[in-house]
């Protein structure tokens, strides 16, 4: 039922607030923080949508979801249809509804945001996806006629899963090869349970399997099979291997016991479930006071995880100011609510330890911001004599990842940038190696789940075009493809 007051009324009515568990309760367990909209709340919020003739929100979505379409269906109470509308464009709606930075993508373009608050697109996406998961009965439309072609997808993170979903719907035989013992990539090892329940990721993967996607775990491409081996067996290969090789600070004391990369800390906690100290064999430090170095989502996730693992005091150390923090504003907010301290404009100089080799503190030096550097962000400059020490027993380094070298090193003809990222056409995902496509963090460097999904989607469509085109098939150089 839409708002009888009309569009002027819609804009004036405030955005429905997502209910969240209170910080004092949620900071000690791994359950989700936002609790989801109720049916009534969802319909109310959905009815605020102006259903613009030329929707700007869609242009902000990396996978092109029909946002006004699904929102209108929610307003009409047709919840499963809304979810199915999203599924036409996005393979992982329950995931995106939770981790997408809608505030910088679709919501930022919402016309309602000009005078009031933008439509809560993310909350509505999550609502529809969760509703279908809990109550839905409609299967997806059947895949197209079998093409007889086989595609290998390396990596079961967001790029690979999306590519697989698109290709199987288009009628191709798809096999996903995953290095870990569990699928999901960063969705499972990186993003904590309290932001993205693993049961949800498993359901999305199961849906792909039920569509006929073959999934093989415990397979490291570049070690057990090379990409050339795969190209001998499959018609096309998509590389979605992620940017997984942690960067360290390079400061003295980094070899002390109690220093972790965020990747290790999160992999132990999330993938290996070390938070369940009673059940899981995988150990993790019993930290009392923790410093997390970095300012992105991974740093926030690490800090909030450390709290939930029982730390009394957790701090973020970030070298620029609040305005430059790369993390989602909502996650920074959640971290602050949970009592995490922020030491902004500070950078570590060294990590201190005792005679037994354990961390006892981290020395930092205050920063001020100078002229912008190559990244466009203002350059932090150390203020001499401003050192201070944080008393901690654990340091988590969350300053980013480099591309994992296993695939590039074992694949002749696959050109990489100086930094080791795979060179791929931004529109099609084609690499310099014939019949090999790539997308996600291994091409762009660490970015978002949704941009990896967009890359997987674009590559799938190009792979489909390529496989259906008559032989002999051209393989333009990566630069030339850009000009098309």
């Amino acid at each position: 039922m839409t708002d009888p007051a009309g569009s002027a009324g819609k804009g004036a009515r405030g955005r429905t607030r997502m209910p969240e568990r209170p910080p004092e309760v949620r900071r000690r367990d791994f359950d989700e923080v936002p609790q989801g909209l109720s049916e009534e709340q969802a319909r109310l919020e959905a009815s605020r949508c102006l259903v613009c003739k030329k929707p700007q929100c869609v242009t902000g979505c990396p996978v092109g979801i029909d946002i006004p379409g699904f929102v209108e269906l929610i307003a009409e109470g047709k919840f499963e249809e809304a979810a199915d509308r999203i599924l036409l464009a996005s393979a992982l709606p329950a995931v995106c509804g939770r981790v997408c930075p809608q505030e910088t993508q679709c919501e930022v373009k919402c016309v309602l945001g000009k005078k009031g608050e933008p439509l809560a697109v993310g909350d509505l996406e999550r609502f529809a996806a969760d509703w279908k998961r809990a109550h839905g009965t409609c299967p997806l439309p059947p895949p197209a006629e079998p093409s007889g072609c086989k595609v290998a997808i390396v990596g079961s993170g967001p790029a690979g899963l999306t590519c697989a979903g698109e290709l199987v719907a288009l009628g191709h035989g798809v096999t996903i090869l995953e290095a870990f013992h569990k699928t999901g990539g960063v969705l499972v090892y990186g993003i904590p349970e309290f932001r993205l329940p693993k049961a949800i990721v498993q359901d999305e993967v199961d849906r792909l399997a039920s569509r006929g996607v073959r999934i093989v775990t415990n397979t490291v491409v570049g070690k057990l099979d090379t990409v050339d081996d795969l190209l001998g067996e499959y018609d096309a290969v998509f590389l979605g291997v992620g940017a997984g090789a942690p960067m360290f600070l390079g400061v003295p004391g980094e070899d002390l016991l109690g220093v972790y990369s965020a990747n290790e800390y999160l992999t132990r906690t999330n993938l290996m479930r070390a938070y369940d100290r009673q059940r899981a064999d995988t150990p993790i430090a019993r930290s009392r006071r923790v410093a997390v170095v970095g300012g992105g989502n991974v740093a926030m996730d690490s800090a909030r995880t450390a709290l939930r693992l029982g730390a009394e005091q957790v701090s973020i150390v970030y070298r620029r100011s609040r305005a430059e923090l790369p993390a989602r504003a909502a996650e920074v907010h959640h971290a602050e609510q949970e009592g995490i301290a922020f030491h902004l404009l500070a950078n570590p100089t060294r990590i201190l330890g005792n005679d037994e080799g354990w961390v006892t503190g981290i020395e930092c030096i205050r920063q001020e911001l100078g002229e912008p550097d190559e990244s466009g962000r203002r350059r932090p400059i150390a203020i001499p004599g401003s050192e201070f020490v944080l008393d901690v027993d654990t340091v988590i380094v969350a300053i980013g990842n480099r591309p994992n070298p296993i695939v590039p090193k074992s694949t002749p003809g696959l050109e990489t940038t100086r930094r080791g990222l795979i060179m791929a056409d931004p529109k099609t995902g084609r690499t310099t190696k014939e019949r090999a496509w790539a997308g996600g963090d291994i091409v762009t460097g660490a970015a978002t789940v949704i941009s990896a999904m967009g890359a997987g989607q674009a590559a799938a469509r190009d792979i489909d075009r390529y496989l259906r085109s008559p032989k002999p098939r051209a393989w333009p150089p990566v630069g030339a493809a850009r000009a098309e």
Partner: protein, 278 residues
């Protein structure tokens, strides 16, 4: 796949398992390892590949029961499967015709040394192998080594077999006799590798060691297995596990190996006395 085709006890706390994984058997090279998981709540842990049989499609794992995970693995019987097995990981040993090479194995380190010795011999090297153990009943694979090379010297700490003493005593004997070696390998407990590093450095023999840090993923994405070699941080799982034995910071490695000792001790004890069985 991952089926335990054969299981044999080859020492008081040492087992040998042949596991079916035809592709892994074909691809494995000396010096490489696998990461396994034995139960759903279990940890990921590495074991070196001691041998591979491409006809039977099996890889051989030889391991000592030192904690909960190896205890759970040891409890598996022929016909059962290992939950997760991934490999081959790590950079393979650089096998060339070096000339006369010295291969030193201590305790369970003798197992990963075996495929390296075989490959070096096949490449045309003269191979002298030193096998060390605390006592006679803890010595493993002597027969297998003697089938590969005639020059095998055994040393036991307590003198119950072979020469009484450490592997470094044997190295000293050889050097004193005027023996020259073009290259050496050492695999074993950290104190042993550290001692061999010193002995070979003093004797001017280039040394390769195979390191055994704690690992989680095994593919270079977590940095948990980081070691310091020549002052630089390297990941044992993707840069190693073999490194220049004269550049390795053994003290740092020893420290990092002890980081979870409390939990390891408790878990092992609980497992041993049968509590917490699932």
């Amino acid at each position: 796949m991952n089926e335990i085709v054969s299981k044999r006890r080859i020492g008081p706390d040492v087992l040998r398992m042949d596991v079916r994984h035809p592709k892994l058997a074909r691809k494995a090279r000396p010096g490489q390892f696998v990461i396994l998981r034995v139960s759903e709540d279990g940890e990921r842990f590495p074991l070196t590949i001691a041998d591979a049989d491409t006809d039977a499609g099996t890889v051989t794992l030889i391991f000592a029961v030192v904690g909960k995970s190896t205890m759970l693995l040891a409890a598996k019987e022929e016909g059962e499967t290992i939950l997760d097995l991934v490999g081959p990981l790590g950079v393979p040993t650089e096998i060339e015709r070096y000339g006369r090479v010295l291969c030193v194995g201590g305790g369970i380190g003798v197992a990963p040394l075996y495929p390296i010795v075989k490959a070096l011999k096949e490449a045309g090297n003269d191979v002298v192998a030193i096998l060390g153990a605390r006592s006679k009943d803890l010595l493993i694979l002597e027969r297998e080594f003697r089938a590969v090379t005639a020059e095998v010297v055994v040393a036991t700490d307590d003198g119950t077999y072979g020469r009484k003493g450490f592997v470094t005593d044997v190295i000293a004997d050889l050097v004193a006799r005027g023996e020259r070696f073009d290259k050496a390998w050492a695999i074993g407990p950290v104190p042993m590798m550290r001692a061999v590093s010193k002995a070979t450095r003093d004797a001017g023999i280039p040394l390769v060691v195979s390191l055994n840090p704690i690992m989680v993923d095994g593919t270079g994405m977590c940095g948990g297995c980081r070691v310091i070699v020549g002052g630089q941080v390297k990941f044992a799982c993707v840069d190693g596990p073999e490194f220049d034995g004269h550049q390795v910071d053994f003290d740092a490695l020893a420290r990092r190996l002890g980081v979870y000792r409390d939990k390891e001790r408790t878990d092992h004890e609980v497992c041993r006395i049968g509590l917490g069985r699932r």
